[in-house]
């Protein structure tokens, strides 16, 4: 610790100072997950059936579609942070670690975009 120099931090000799926000966002999204995934499971339990028409009608309702989009954002973000913690613990090769972090900064975003587009299509018409 002490007076780390800027060049020292650039060389990876100091923290990026993002640890607290990572930790906090992991908790904020955990609260979101707790509410939204329990909503999804409770909704599944209460659905009268699991055929296309029933499920589609349910998810097309504004409340369901909103909750599903929020659930995608909250859970995917939480998952991305959690997988990063795992990678930081187990991936020690610098090149591979960079590849993993690059993947973690693109794949969850792409996955969330796909999921949200699906919900919007269900909610706003189309299929």
């Amino acid at each position: 610790m002490g007076n780390g120099t800027s060049i020292g931090r650039v060389r990876g000799l100091g923290s990026a100072k993002h640890g607290s926000s990572h930790w906090l966002v992991q908790r904020f999204t955990a609260i979101g997950n707790l509410i939204l995934v329990v909503w999804l499971l409770a909704s599944l339990v209460m659905l009268p059936g699991y055929d296309y028409a029933t499920v589609h009608t349910w998810l097309a309702r504004p409340f369901s579609a909103t909750a599903m989009v929020l659930m995608i954002v909250s859970t995917f973000w939480h998952a991305r942070l959690g997988v990063q913690v795992m990678a930081e613990d187990y991936v020690h090769d610098e090149g591979l670690k960079f590849a993993v972090l690059a993947a973690l900064n693109s794949i969850p975003l792409a996955a969330a975009a796909f999921g949200i587009i699906c919900v919007l299509r269900i909610a706003l018409g189309g299929a």
Partner: protein
């Protein structure tokens, strides 16, 4: 072969098992808190990969129309009559769904425990062990309850 890891028996064959372990990294035995800790990570990563993949497949099928949704159901839950490959995948699909639901309820239970640990509560040896065990029980009980409600309505 256990290169860097020793089981308690390696060093403590004659020792009293109830005695506390000395603070050497290589000498340890399983305890509830350790099980819950590694399960939290395993379940979380299982959900991050398997859960998200399945969720997106489900939403994608639902957004693509009745035929695509029926195909999804045929691979995951109810095989098309005469399709032996789907007979296998629907069995695996049910296993994966039960597994993912357990992973969620286990991760949720130990996650709620983490909120208490975050504010500094529950570190006393007895309380720590007790609440670790509670998350293991609640993970299984909530999974059973969820499937009972889903299937026995």
């Amino acid at each position: 072969m256990r290169p860097f890891r020793c089981e308690p028996g390696d060093f403590m064959a004659q020792a009293n098992n109830a005695r506390p372990l000395s603070p050497h990294l290589a000498i340890w035995r399983w305890g509830p808190a350790m099980v819950v800790s590694i399960l939290h990570r395993a379940a979380g990563n299982g959900l991050a990969f398997g859960g998200i993949a399945l969720l997106l497949w489900w939403l994608g099928a639902l957004a693509s129309g009745p035929a695509a949704y029926q195909t999804f159901l045929h691979w995951i839950w109810t095989a098309e009559p005469g399709n032996s490959l789907q007979t296998v995948t629907t069995l695996l699909g049910k296993l994966v769904l039960v597994g993912l639901s357990w992973a969620f309820f286990q991760h949720m239970s130990s996650g709620i425990r983490h909120f208490f640990l975050d504010v500094g509560a529950g570190y006393e040896l007895e309380a720590n062990t007790r609440w670790s065990l509670v998350t293991l029980v609640s993970g299984v009980v909530l999974t059973a309850l969820f499937w009972a409600l889903l299937l026995l309505r």
